[in-house]
């Protein structure tokens, strides 16, 4: 087995015979190892953020100013850069779009051109592990710079990959093997140990940020449920899969408020994730959400669940302000 494949191969379980005598096709073992490496390098490199602004919802005319700021996870300690894609329109070429990360300090400048809408990719923004706050900054003195969409995706690693570079587990070895070698117990052990690590590459279920106050501070509308649909992983882990939920909140009132994460099928959300926000508190609040098998969303062929923030509907009134939120997990 040589670690030379840069494509995704899938092992074939049906070629393995059950029993005490091991009978397998070497191609399947090779495919499994390739699959491991591909998943380590590219698995989970799916959008972390996708947000749009219609009309003049985000227009900037002035000195450098941050608009939204999203909290995003990093897939592994080795996936340390993201690409930021921005769609914009401007009348005069005076604008600049930059992507910034809070903890890794990286910044990427993007020169913009006249007209639009254009798509600008700010590649290679450094981010810290296990998560970072990524923001977009606009400069446009004298003319309007209109942002339509922003999209953030992790940059993939090189492939073929020495898998140990990502998770410390290397069924194909740290370096490429030039020739076929016997299957070792160590390789099987590395596969076994590596599988749960690959499983836990975070996926983002929902991620939103309001604009900075200088642009026009947005908070989640109260008296309303902000929710999305997502897929659950049926049967793979008992009692569901746990996700992390983060919300940047502000309680300007003189009394404690509640923030309610709801998980369940549409129409009967369970209010089982209640966070207390003290009077005068401003900052991040975090909790965990367990996505169990629901399979109750009509029209979905797979198990799906509704996740969202209840901003004071019915019996749970609130005046707590939510400026940003995100939910991610395996």
């Amino acid at each position: 087995m040589a670690n030379t494949s840069n494509t995704l191969s899938l092992p074939a379980p049906l070629t393995v015979l059950s029993g005490t005598r091991l009978v397998y096709g070497p191609d399947s073992v090779q495919a499994a190892a390739y699959c491991h490496n591909w998943l380590a390098a590219r698995g989970g490199c799916t959008p972390l953020v996708d947000q749009g602004w219609q009309g003049s919802a985000w227009v900037w005319n002035g000195a450098a100013q941050v608009g939204p700021s999203w909290r995003v996870p990093t897939l592994t300690a080795s996936h340390t850069t993201v690409d930021v894609v921005v769609q914009y329109t401007q009348a005069v070429a005076v604008g600049q779009i930059r992507a910034l990360s809070a903890t890794a300090g990286g910044a990427v400048a993007g020169a913009t051109v006249v007209g639009g809408p254009f798509e600008l990719t700010l590649a290679g923004l450094a981010v810290a592990s296990p998560y970072d706050d990524v923001s977009i900054e606009l400069t446009s003195v004298g003319n309007n710079l209109v942002i339509h969409d922003a999209y953030i995706v992790p940059a993939t690693l090189a492939n073929p990959l020495p898998a140990a570079a990502v998770d410390g587990v290397s069924p194909m070895g740290v370096d490429a093997v030039a020739a076929d070698e016997p299957l070792t117990a160590r390789a099987l052990r590395d596969m076994r140990v590596g599988l749960p690590l690959l499983r836990q590459h975070p996926r983002v279920v929902m991620c939103w940020s309001g604009l900075d106050p200088a642009v026009g501070q947005e908070t989640l509308r109260t008296g309303y449920r902000h929710r999305t649909l997502t897929r659950t992983w049926q049967g793979s882990v008992e009692k569901g899969v746990t996700y992390n939920a983060h919300a940047y909140v502000r309680n300007a009132t003189a009394s404690a408020q509640r923030l309610i994460w709801q998980v369940g099928a549409l129409g009967w959300e369970r209010a089982d994730n209640i966070i207390s926000v003290a009077a005068g508190f401003t900052g991040w609040k975090t909790t965990t959400i367990t996505l169990r098998d629901e399979a109750l969303v009509r029209g979905y062929p797979w198990e799906a669940v509704s996740v969202g923030l209840d901003m004071g509907v019915g019996a749970y009134p609130t005046t707590c302000e939510v400026l940003r939120y995100t939910v991610w997990g395996e």
């Binding site: 995704l8 029993g19 091991l22 947000q51 999305t228 009509r298 062929p301």
Partner: protein, 228 residues
């Protein structure tokens, strides 16, 4: 949807200790490892390029009528290896009822609320699948239940007669409601076929008439593949 993605036994994971001492190894153990790789690759990783896209407006959409609202939106989609189908859902507002009696009188007959979906290659307006995506109500028309005269607030029905001055959104999901052929000729609902030579980046276009899209969810799914 068993005809699209036949469900296999869900994977089990071998005990790590079973690989750490000298003992005959069974084929079942290796098969379980392979099963798990397939599960991670086909379901958890390839099946999860999920878009959760939120649009914001320079007005409060909850208190503004979607009647006479038109939109032309596009969403980026990544097509991974083995991509075969795309499932989509939108959270939308649509109501044939005007926000006031004079508006209702001026509008006359209830307007048709429509969201037309098409899937494009990223670089240009080349349709991957020429008939485009359709909700299962024909030509993108949204479910007629939005015209029901009622007070079902959670379903997005807004009726001035019951004090409806807000427009709560409703979800339309694609799994059982999307077709790539006119409904009259469809024998079973099925998702859109991306095609075997799927490009790595696609665009999902939504053109909404008398409707407003607040959120879009999408993911591309592979065929079940058990052989390399």
């Amino acid at each position: 949807m068993a005809d699209i993605y036949p469900r296999r036994t869900w994977p089990t994971l071998v005990e790590e200790e079973a690989t750490q001492y000298l003992a005959p190894m069974s084929g079942a153990m290796l098969a379980s490892i392979f099963d798990y790789y397939n599960h991670l690759a086909l379901i958890r990783h390839l099946g999860r390029p999920q878009i959760d896209k939120v649009w914001e407006y320079d007005y409060d959409p909850i208190t503004t009528s979607p009647v006479n609202s038109t939109q032309d939106l596009q969403v980026r989609l990544q097509a991974p290896p083995y991509a075969a189908h795309v499932f989509v859902a939108v959270q939308y507002q649509a109501s044939p009822y005007a926000i006031s009696a004079p508006d209702l009188a001026a509008l006359g007959a209830p307007p048709v609320c429509r969201i037309v979906n098409t899937l494009l290659k990223h670089a240009g307006a080349v349709l991957v699948d020429s008939p485009g995506m359709r909700w299962d109500y024909g030509d993108g028309t949204l479910p007629p239940t939005v015209r029901v005269n009622g007070i079902d607030w959670q379903e997005g029905v807004v009726n001035p007669a019951v004090g409806g001055d807000v427009y709560p959104p409703r979800w339309a999901v694609s799994g059982m409601e999307i077709n790539d052929a006119p409904p009259a000729t469809v024998s079973r609902p099925r998702p859109l076929n991306v095609g075997t030579a799927a490009p790595t980046l696609l665009r999902w276009r939504l053109v909404a008439t008398n409707a407003r899209v607040l959120r879009a969810v999408a993911w591309i799914l592979p065929e079940q593949v058990v052989t390399p």
